[in-house]
């Protein structure tokens, strides 16, 4: 069986899982940005790592990526990826008095790191609530560069290009502006089946 094949019910459940995470994140973003933040899950699925770069626009597309390592009962690499346009919209709202279009400084990188932290933290919390795994997150690392150059560190820790990746695409709306963010979780080889079998189990039973 193709490990990426999910039944319609599995996909619904995965999307529901995405919604739980997005719900947590929306609350945190509302506090951070002020005002109402709406988040919706536009896509939730499992895909091969090789596809991730295509999802965000291709190998040498310029993107902003936040990298976070998770350790504990499930270990792996997480990325939150934003287009430069989405990041720019987000930064203009997050940093009052910032001149739009200015090159990124320490403030910008740190704000983007916090955004990545909130989003991935929300999904880690959702996984942990659902499956009962204990996990800790590293400090976020942020960079802007070519998509595949930033994502290639995801292949470490024995993960391969054919490994499964959990992909959740979200759209965040705040004050009439839209921000598209992609969340990827690539479990290490030894954690992969544990996480995905467990998630599938929870999905079909719930």
């Amino acid at each position: 069986m193709n490990p990426y094949d999910l039944s319609a019910a599995d996909l619904d459940a995965l999307r529901e899982f995405g919604n739980i995470g997005a719900g947590h994140a929306a609350t945190a973003f509302s506090t951070l940005l002020g005002g109402v933040v709406r988040m919706s899950v536009t896509d939730a699925r499992l895909c091969p790592f090789g596809e991730v770069v295509e999802v965000v626009g291709g190998s040498d597309t310029l993107v902003i990526a936040v990298y976070i390592r998770i350790e504990g009962e499930i270990e792996g690499n997480m990325f939150v990826v934003l287009s430069p346009e989405s990041a720019e919209r987000l930064l203009n709202q997050l940093i009052p008095g910032r001149t739009p279009g200015d090159p990124y400084g320490e403030m910008e990188y740190s704000a983007l790191g916090e955004v990545g932290n909130i989003l991935s933290g929300a999904y880690v919390a959702a996984i942990s609530d659902l499956c009962g795994f204990r996990m800790t997150q590293s400090i976020p690392a942020v960079a802007m560069d070519m998509a595949s150059a930033l994502l290639d560190i995801g292949l470490m820790y024995g993960s391969g290009e054919d490994n499964q990746v959990l992909l959740i695409s979200t759209r965040l709306t705040h004050g009439g502006r839209e921000i598209q963010a992609y969340f990827f979780l690539l479990p290490d080889f030894h954690s992969s089946s544990e996480l995905f079998d467990n998630l599938r189990g929870k999905m079909s039973s719930g």
Partner: protein, 145 residues
């Protein structure tokens, strides 16, 4: 690749793009090295690891008719894309470069040009018959090796 043409690899971060070529026979090959060493000597994807990738490339070049003594190499990549966080894993680029350097030296292949390290991604292409390796960063800087 045989004869005139171009080998391209886009968006190298911690990975290293290694080109081995025989200018006289107009033969060149490119490997996209992701990790310093293979987990076991038997792998389905020898191209991924510095040790097995270079053996694989040399073997393919010889099979295509290259001369062992004329083989030269150029390589680029091995950046540390994420800065400011002390995680051993994020230094993989440096380890990839060291491994490529050692594996080429062990096989006596002369290195004619490198562009490694730093904190920027690279798209690289190698052209035959000029044997020039061009490196372009996301910000548009170009270098020719």
């Amino acid at each position: 690749m045989r004869g005139p043409g171009r080998l391209v690899t886009a968006g190298l971060g911690s990975c290293v793009g290694v080109v081995i070529y025989d200018a006289e026979a107009r033969l060149a090959g490119l490997a996209h090295v992701m990790l310093p060493g293979s987990p076991s000597p038997v792998t389905n994807v020898p191209q991924k690891y510095a040790d097995t990738a270079i053996d694989w490339l040399v073997r393919e070049m010889m099979r295509a008719g290259a001369s062992r003594l004329r083989l030269r190499a150029k390589y680029a990549g091995g950046a540390q894309m994420f800065q400011g966080v002390k995680m051993e894993a994020l230094r993989i680029g440096e380890r990839n470069v060291q491994a490529v350097q050692k594996e080429l030296a062990d096989r006596g292949i002369l290195v004619e040009g490198t562009d490694v390290g730093g904190h920027q991604g690279r798209t690289v292409w190698f052209e035959m018959p000029s044997c020039l390796l061009t490196v372009r960063t996301a910000r548009g800087d170009m270098r020719m090796l």
